[in-house]
Symmetry: C2
Subunit: 229 residues, 2 copies
DNA sequence: GACAAGCAGATTGTCGACAATCTAACAAGA
DNA sequence: TCTTGTTAGATTGTCGACAATCTGCTTGTC
């Protein structure tokens, strides 16, 4: 028999498609933080009944990007400066752990995949596609978590990433400048190919802090705006 | 005005109650790993319709203790030795982080709460109430995560804890001996009250490893049994 | 004008029924 | 005997309607 790997077939339920649609809308900032999701309106727009929509929303609530208040409604989570700080500081810890687990397992396939994802970021950057740039950067970043061979870590990181992606998207949306033009991942990729694990861990931590400062200033702006109400 | 803290009123939806019921059934091992949840049967037993039940199940799927296959059913997650290893190794990392965050914030209220929870564990142990013993031990363990003042960390730890509680419950159920009789938390509490943070972190890691060995042997048994089918 | 009671509209929560899909058993053919 | 097609039953996925709850406005009273 030919040894062909079939990928799992796509989810065929409306629910799964709704989840994907909503998640994308939230993570790209099309649905803004705090905004209420009206079930009737959305279900009519999507041409589905409220049952699968509500189930989809329950999933996203547990995923941490929606929040629900009984009999009041379901809302996109609010973004506070503290949330961003918390998410980032945990992300650092997870990254250090992921690098530690991945390190002894690096092989040619890992390096190839690293390059592939790095290339995808550069391409999105050249195309000035900010949404895609965020996505690809997080995917590059996520390789160590996939490679770490720890399903709980991967799952945890993916949950965290949802929020990070949302924060970045909001940030990008807020300032209308184009994205950081130059390639900030060059050093990271080089270090992950190198032989000094501690250095890689250190850089991951510092590199994060870099983007972080920008995000935080955005979040502080949000805070101020909110406190006026 | 009298400064009285009101606790939030109970969730009034059926969905929330169903979630609580199902979670408890799973975490105490009344529903076994791999077991299928028949929607019609459960909804009849609980005297509710399938809609809130299905929404509840979606939540528990995202919580990581159920797994769903479209048109096939929703099942209690399987427990493999690797899952336990993964969960525990991540738990160690989170613990170290939580201790680091909590350390500078420890105050009298913290110490009091530590003692209170410690006392609850001892009481459950004396009463030979294994289920409650697991619960209280995890609550004692969770104090550092609550005190760390990092909402993302807390949320992450709670997700992880669900599984740990399930693993422990299964383990306790498997062997019919009474639980570890003596108080294994004495040292931990003392260290958390002390002044050597590194020592506390080290102990948390080692103490975990202790219980861990027992759990693992249980998981390996499961593996063997599964591979025979 | 301030305030409470009550009503109307909108929205969420829940229900029972129907449609789509899967599973397992059986039959037909090579 | 093995494979393939068919069918019946059971189960999950989805729908439209109804019940419970909230919100904001109006009304009446002081």
């Amino acid at each position: 028999m030919a040894k062909l790997d079939f990928s799992p077939i796509a989810d065929t339920t409306r629910r799964a498609e709704i989840v994907a649609l909503l998640r994308r809308a939230i993570l790209t900032g099309q649905l803004e933080p705090g905004q209420k999701l009206n079930e009737l309106r959305i279900s009519e727009q999507m041409r589905v009944s409220r049952a699968p929509l509500r189930e989809a929303m329950r999933e996203l609530v547990q995923e941490g990007i929606l929040t629900s208040i009984p009999y009041a409604g379901t809302f996109v989570i609010d973004v506070t400066a503290k949330d961003i700080i918390d998410a980032y500081s945990l992300n650092k810890v997870l990254d250090e752990f992921a690098i530690e687990l991945t390190w002894p397992q690096r092989d040619q396939r890992f390096f190839d995949e690293l390059d592939r994802r790095h290339e995808a970021v550069k391409q999105a950057t050249r195309a000035l596609d900010t949404t895609r740039q965020i996505e690809t950067a997080l995917q590059l970043h996520g390789l160590i978590h996939e490679w770490a061979d720890n399903s709980v870590l991967l799952e945890t990181w993916q949950r965290l990433t949802s929020r990070l992606q949302m924060y970045f998207a909001l940030h990008q949306r807020a300032r209308n400048e184009p994205v950081p033009a130059e390639d900030v991942h060059e050093t990271y990729v080089a270090l992950m190919k190198g032989s000094d694990m501690r250095a890689a861990q250190r850089h991951a931590r510092e590199h994060i802090d870099l983007d972080f400062e920008e995000l935080l200033s955005y979040a502080r702006g949000l805070e101020k705006r909110a406190s006026k109400n």
